[in-house]
């Protein structure tokens, strides 16, 4: 088997709506390799959430195939194996926490999977430890901050020991502190355990920290590459109504005014260093 964790081949999907079929995408191809951190960008309604839901068989393709670690998502017998392999975290933490006590919520997935009792306790302990919420294990989730709730949701998914985690705008409802907490947790997961991450986001600074960025527009991918490769295509991104990271924007404007600057200094420090070098 190759190292593709997620693979969509000629993926086509249509929603059945009251006024006929609504085609979200046609013949989409994408492969996510083990250990990648992929940011998915695109304006509202372009089909990002619909794509995400194909990665753990919540939605099934109306055409083409989706494979999770080589398993066809359309096969019924593999459903639980597929769902435990690809964990999913959504935007609103309030609507994905099931139990009234933190540790019970984290235990929900392993309980569903029929994991033996002693191992459930072990998984809950390590998941809470990973997201740094161990001391809150007996708290009521509704008393926690948004960032903490979202970390509990991540822990709930981690307890399945997934190969890959797909996060659909997990920071959209959070304040800057919560956003930072969640981003740190996600990147740490990837660094430590090699968990593959697919992060749907509207925040360019978050996308800039990923290893790969793909841009969706009207149901197809118009850019795919490292953050440096993608964010330097400033006109393309602006053309589809997306911002670029502030660092790139600054470098871009300076270049237009004749400064000889690289565009791909995404980090604040790199950007500052590049400008300092030119000024000298």
């Amino acid at each position: 088997m190759d190292d593709a964790v997620l693979r969509a081949e000629k993926l086509t999907f249509e929603y059945d709506t009251d006024d006929g079929e609504l085609e979200v995408f046609r013949d989409l191809d994408i492969t996510v390799k083990r250990g990648e951190v992929v940011a998915v960008l695109g304006h509202n309604g372009c089909g990002k959430s619909t794509l995400a839901k194909h990665f753990n068989a919540i939605l099934l393709p109306t055409g083409g195939k989706v494979y999770v670690m080589g398993m066809d998502t359309a096969s019924d017998d593999l459903l639980l194996d597929i769902r435990r392999t690809v964990g999913m975290v959504f935007q609103n933490p309030d609507n994905q926490i099931v139990a009234a006590v933190v540790e019970e919520d984290v235990a929900f997935a392993p309980e569903n999977l029929g994991v033996p009792q002693a191992e459930i306790v072990e998984r809950v302990d390590s998941a809470l430890e990973t997201v740094g919420m161990t001391e809150y294990r007996n708290h009521a989730p509704h008393r926690l901050s948004g960032g903490q709730k979202q970390r509990i949701a991540i822990a709930g998914v981690l307890a399945m020991r997934p190969e890959c985690i797909v996060l659909d705008e997990p920071t959209a409802m959070l304040d800057p502190v919560g956003r930072a907490e969640v981003m740190k947790t996600i990147l740490e997961l990837n660094r430590r355990d090699g968990t593959t991450i697919v992060l749907i986001t509207h925040h360019m600074d978050e996308a800039a920290r990923c290893s790969r960025v793909v841009v969706m527009e009207d149901g197809s991918f118009i850019a795919d590459g490292t953050p440096e490769e993608v964010f330097t295509q400033v006109e393309l991104l602006r053309g589809v109504g997306l911002e670029v990271p502030q660092t790139v924007e600054l470098l871009y404007e300076l270049r237009k005014r004749g400064f000889n600057l690289p565009l791909d200094a995404l980090g604040c420090d790199e950007c500052a260093a590049a400008i300092a070098a030119v000024m000298r």
Binding site: R83, R84, D94, Q96, V98, A100, P110, G114, V124
Partner: protein, 276 residues
Amino acid sequence: MAMLKDITLGQYFPGNTPLHRMDPRMKILLTIAYIVVLFVADGLVSYLAIIAFLCTAIAISHIKPKMILRGMKTLIFIIALTGILNMFYTKGEGKPLLSFWNVAIYKEGIVTAVFMIVRIILLISGTFMLTYTTSPLQLTDGIESLLKPLEKIHVPAHELAMMMSIALRFIPTLIEEADKIMSAQKARGADFESGGLLRRAKALIPLLVPLFISAFRRADELAVAMECRCYHGGEGRTRMRSLKFGTVDLWALLTVAALAAAVILLKVFPLEVFGI
């Protein structure tokens, strides 16, 4: 709005007393037994025995009696009404103690009323002891486990328990949301507090409509999130904390059995004190 925050549905006071450690199934069964005993009981001695039992339970649980009284406050109207009705409608044999218009109050009436009030207070305090010392989760686990045998006759035990625990999980979230919507409507000049009953009920519509819409959206999202976490019904499901009967449960069972025996004996061979 203060009113919404005062709802203390299924309130639980965490602790580590023998009562907290009891198996929830035993607690539920014994609470039911206690209620039956309460309705069988007759005569002063029986009631004194039950009161002694309840007070011991409260003392063991470290629950402050104040908490029980506070919970009782919301029910005071029902308690008073039951007492008054019993007082007026019980006819006695002797001369009425008091009579005006066409109402007469007899000694028997007062005795019945007092017993009725004491009985209701004991009933409420007993059930409070159950919810105060058992977390909602344990309570639903206990109910699920007790209903399990009924799955053979198609009682959906797991589904009922899951519904109950999700409802309990979402009560605070929905209350918070109702609060928010109410403040938003008030800021736009809505008035929830004045006017007659009809007017107030009408004023609630702009609160309830968004609340319901949002609750349905939440339910949708929650269902997907549960599926994502491999939920597929109760089949093959294991639990992180399993229920176990222990020695505390045995002692509690013996105590309640002794109380029941005493009350039944007193019913068969009444022991009158002060003629009641």
